[in-house]
Amino acid sequence: MSALTLKLKTDLAQRVDCSPLTPDKLAGKDVADIAAMELVSGRLTLPVDQLFDISGDDVNDIRFENSSAKLDHIGHAMSQGRITIEGDVGAYLGQFMTGGNIEITGNTFIYTGCEMKGGQIKINGNAGDFVGAARSGYKNGMTGGIIIVTGNTGARTGDHMRRGMILIEGNAGEYCGSRMISGTIAVLGDVGKHLGYAMKRGTLLLTKMPQYGITANFNDCGSHTLAFLPLMFASFKKLDSQFANVEGFSRVRRYAGDVGGIGMGEILIKI
């Protein structure tokens, strides 16, 4: 069996909802069935084979080629299997996913890993705003799994995040960790303004002092050696990420906040 490959035929005029194209939802379907499936695009529904050239037959290993930033909801609620994407994708990549792997060689639009519960998303590029966040009006962002971004993320990374990890090899945008409930966001690069805004709990792990400093909403708790950090760095070793090569450290400066709220979150900065 070879990977089920979906090669986008043309530039898209409208956004396409690709949520039916997951290993779970394609299980038991042959290529003819998949070709006849309909996808919502704007006000139309279009058969899959009108949008994609289809080859291969392994629905547990799906490959999008020539992908576009107008393909939304790829990997929606997937629980197992693998999706590989060559090119950019649109919004809501891996929304509600509970397991499996998604890897993309381009950039993602907003709400990557929105409310995901498990599995892993690796973005070999940049991610848009609201990575691992909750949908507008919802209280819980991602509650499990790992999102790795080799490039930069937009604003509001981890907004309302409740559990899991977001590992950013580049820079994070403004309001990183905003309204975070728990979980861990680690950034190897820089972070934008308003770091940890309205953060309740959780950990923001940085390798250097942010360019805009720490806001007045976080109180300095001093320098410490924290025993959980070596365990966390050890868990990174198995990842296909720069984080696997980071020399583990346990000495950090700890800032607690956002004291405008319950103030139980923490920013840890390597010293």
């Binding site: 899991g164 924290l226 959980f228 365990l231």
Partner: protein
């Protein structure tokens, strides 16, 4: 069967099922890990009065511990999962949480994922300042304490185990019996998955089931008490002046089999010329437990 002049009795040791777990205590250095582990496994020689049986299994190199610090592996056994959970929790709370620089981890996967709380409830000591961290699918708790932060895994695995494996060393004198026990314990300590929970691994007060006193359900094993040779139905020949027992708890029957073989062999190496006369075992006619360790089969 005779090994090096030592007679191996045609009898069996009788053991019973227990629930067990392994915990790992780490610290800034081995000395402090050992302080904590020694306290954790204190007063844990017999379930009869201690509620559990526990001992240090071995020391661990930094490369073997979850946090890369020196550590100590401890095994702890109780008659059931509930009793084990209570013992682990109270001991962890009083002996590990309190010990400077310590951290506490599970050292075993439970049968079919069975788990008991390790630091799950200790977290409340943090008074709301405790922090949970999920790392590699396992939950840890960071509890702020005066020396920094106490890190503990939330749960530890529970496995079906075997308690009460044993053998008796019968010698011509007390020093000779003790020397044989020391040799046996030293050899057995090299093995994984077992502990000898009594002081130094040796028991001098083996018991029989029942007593003339109604309040007691165990009493001295008079048949093996050398001073009673003329007063009771003794198991001892005239030249035997001292008997000592080694009790073994293990994660499986096979682990105890192996430990008994190694221990008996070490005792027998001293031989009759050093006053070691017989190896026997404590059994209660099959009433105590389903695991029977036949000495001659083990040594065959």
């Amino acid at each position: 069967m005779i090994i090096n002049g030592v007679s191996i009795d045609k009898t069996f040791a009788e053991a019973f099922p227990m629930k067990g777990t392994r915990i790992i205590i780490t610290a800034q250095n081995l000395e402090w890990a050992m302080h904590s582990a020694t306290a954790f496994t204190g007063f844990a020689t017999s379930v009869i009065a201690c509620g559990c049986e526990a001992a240090i299994e071995r020391t661990l190199d930094p490369s073997e511990t979850p946090d890369g610090r020196p550590g100590v592996a401890c095994l702890i056994f109780a008659m059931g999962g509930k009793g084990l959970a209570k013992q682990v929790e109270t001991r962890a709370g009083q002996c590990v949480l309190t010990s400077p620089t310590s951290a506490l981890f599970s050292g075993i996967e439970g049968d079919d994922g069975a788990e008991i709380a390790l630091g799950k409830n200790l977290r409340f000591f943090g008074d709301g300042y405790q922090i949970s961290k999920m790392i590699d699918g396992k939950r840890y708790w960071r509890i702020p304490v005066m020396d920094g932060e106490f890190l503990t895994q939330e749960n530890t695995g529970v496995v079906s185990s075997v308690g009460g494996g044993n053998f008796l060393i019968l010698a011509e004198s007390q020093p000779q019996a003790l020397a044989a026990c020391e040799a046996a314990v030293k050899a057995m300590k090299q093995l994984p998955n077992i502990i000898m929970p009594f002081p130094g691994g040796v028991v001098r007060s083996g018991s029989k089931v029942g007593s003339k006193y109604k309040a007691l359900n165990a009493s001295t094993n008079d048949a093996f008490c050398p001073t009673l040779k003329g007063q009771t139905k003794s198991e001892l020949s005239p030249e035997v002046e001292s008997v000592m027992e080694i009790v073994i708890d293990g994660l499986s029957k096979e682990d105890i089999d192996k430990a008994m073989r190694v221990g008996i062999q070490a005792a027998c190496e001293l031989g009759a010329e050093n006053g070691i006369r017989r190896i026997s075992a404590g059994n209660y006619g099959g009433k105590l437990g389903p695991f029977h360790f036949h000495l001659q089969e083990i040594m065959a």
